[in-house]
C-alpha cells in the first residue's frame, strides 16, 4: 500500500512535469536559431519589406527599395535599394560589396518577372542570373539563398500559381546550374489546392503575407540552416 502511494505520487509528479515542459514553437525555433537568422540579410520587393512590421527580423537586415517595389527585370542590376547601414540609395551590388553579409536570402519575381516573362523563361532566368553574378562578384564569400516565389490566393488577379510554378522551376534549374542554395519555402505556404494558405495572407490582393505567414517562412529557413549546421 505504501509503495503504491509512492508510485502514485511519482506518477502524478511526472505527469505534472510533462505538462509544464516548454513546447518548441515555430517562434522559439526562429529565436533559438538566432545565430543563423541574425546573420542573414533579406533582399526583395514589398514581400520582404513587410517583414519589418510583421516578423521579428530587424530592419537592418532588410534590403529593399524606398518605394518597396523591386522589379525582377533587365534593369535589376541598376535598381537602387536603401542601404540598411547608411539609408542611402545604392545598387544591390554596391551594398553587397560594402556589407558582405554572411547569408543573403533573395525573394524576387512577383514584381514584373513572373508575369511579364511568363512566356519567356529564358529572360526571367537571364535577369536573375545577372543579379546573382553581380552580387557574387561584389561579395564572393556571401552564401546566397534564392527563395522560391510564394504562391498567391485565388484573389490574385493577374499573377497565377501556374506562372509562379513555372518561374520556380526556372529558379531551381538556375540555382542547380550556378551551385546556389534554393529555398523551396513555397512548399510550406501553399494549401492542398496550390493556393497561398488563407491563414497566411494579409491582403485582399492575394499576394502579401501576414505574421503567421512570415513565421512559417522563417521557420522553414531556420530549419534549412539547422540541417546544414549554419
Amino acid at each position: 500500500m505504501h509503495c503504491n502511494r509512492i508510485f502514485l505520487l511519482f506518477l502524478i509528479l511526472a505527469l505534472l512535469l510533462a505538462g509544464c515542459a516548454p513546447k518548441v514553437s515555430a517562434d522559439a525555433r526562429v529565436q533559438d536559431t538566432a545565430g543563423f537568422l541574425s546573420e542573414t540579410s533579406f533582399l526583395g520587393d514589398s514581400i520582404t519589406a513587410h517583414m519589418a512590421s510583421r516578423s521579428p527580423i530587424s530592419k537592418k537586415q532588410l534590403w529593399c527599395a524606398k518605394t518597396r517595389y523591386l522589379n525582377l527585370d533587365s534593369r535589376i542590376t541598376y535598381a537602387k535599394i536603401v542601404a540598411p547601414d547608411t539609408g542611402a540609395e545604392e545598387t544591390i551590388a554596391a551594398v553587397a560589396a560594402r556589407l558582405r553579409p554572411r547569408y543573403l536570402v533573395i525573394t524576387l519575381g512577383i514584381d514584373y518577372g513572373v508575369y511579364y516573362y511568363r512566356d519567356e523563361q529564358q529572360s526571367f532566368s537571364r535577369c536573375y542570373e545577372k543579379l546573382l553574378d553581380a552580387i557574387l562578384t561584389a561579395s564572393p564569400d556571401t552564401v546566397v539563398l534564392v527563395q522560391s516565389v510564394f504562391p498567391v490566393t485565388a484573389a490574385s488577379k493577374a499573377i497565377t500559381n501556374e506562372m509562379i510554378d513555372r518561374a520556380n522551376g526556372t529558379l531551381r534549374a538556375l540555382c542547380t546550374r550556378m551551385g546556389i542554395d534554393y529555398l523551396d519555402t513555397q512548399s510550406v505556404l501553399r494549401d492542398s489546392e496550390g493556393y497561398l494558405k488563407s491563414d497566411f495572407c494579409s491582403d485582399t490582393d492575394g499576394i502579401h503575407l501576414n505574421e503567421a505567414g512570415y513565421t512559417a517562412m522563417l521557420d522553414y529557413i531556420a530549419r534549412y540552416g539547422e540541417e546544414r549546421g549554419w
Partner: protein, 159 residues
C-alpha cells in the same frame, strides 16, 4: 600572268574588306559622337549610365541594328537610346520595335502604379506616355524624358 591576276584579285578583296571594316568603325564613331553630344546636352555622365550589352541585347535585339547606345537615368526616371542601322530601309521596323518597347514599359509601370502609391512611378509613367521615337537616315532614336530635355537632346543631335 596567272599569278599576277590572283594577286590582283586578292589585293582587291583585301581592299574591299578593309573598306567594310573602315565603314563599320566609322558608323560606330558617328553613333558615339552623337551619343556624346546628347549626353552633354542632358547633364553628362552624372545623370545617365550607359546600359550594358546584356541590357541592350535583351531589349533591342535586331539584325538590322549595327550599333546601340542606350542610357538609363541614374535616379531611374528616364532613358534614351540611339541606334545606327545597317540598312536605312529598316528604319520603320526599328521605330516600331522601339515603340513596342516603350509601350511595354509604360504598361508595366501603369500596373505597378496601381499597386504602389509612389510619386516616382507617376513621374516615370508620364515619361513613357510622352516618349518620342524618330529617325534621321540610318540613325534612329528614342527619348523617354521630360519634354524640355527631349527638345535639348534633339537639338544636340541635329548640330
Amino acid at each position: 600572268m596567272k599569278k599576277a591576276r590572283c594577286l590582283a584579285a586578292l589585293l582587291a578583296l583585301l581592299l574591299l574588306l578593309g573598306g567594310c571594316t573602315r565603314e563599320a568603325r566609322s558608323d560606330e564613331a558617328e553613333l558615339e559622337a552623337s551619343a556624346a553630344k546628347v549626353l552633354e546636352s542632358l547633364g553628362g555622365k552624372e545623370r545617365f549610365l550607359r546600359a550594358d550589352d546584356d541590357f541592350t541585347e535583351m531589349n533591342f535585339s535586331a539584325d538590322y541594328i549595327e550599333e546601340r547606345a542606350v542610357y538609363l537615368a541614374e535616379d531611374g526616371i528616364g532613358e534614351w537610346g540611339l541606334f545606327s542601322l545597317r540598312d536605312t530601309a529598316q528604319s520603320r521596323a526599328c521605330r516600331e520595335m522601339l515603340a513596342d518597347y516603350l509601350e511595354n514599359e509604360r504598361a508595366a509601370i501603369e500596373s505597378l502604379a496601381a499597386l504602389y502609391p509612389a510619386d516616382e512611378l507617376q513621374e516615370r509613367l508620364a515619361l513613357y506616355q510622352n516618349a518620342q521615337v524618330g529617325a534621321d537616315g540610318a540613325l534612329v532614336w528614342y527619348f523617354a524624358l521630360p519634354a524640355s530635355e527631349s527638345n535639348l537632346a534633339l537639338r544636340a543631335l541635329r548640330k
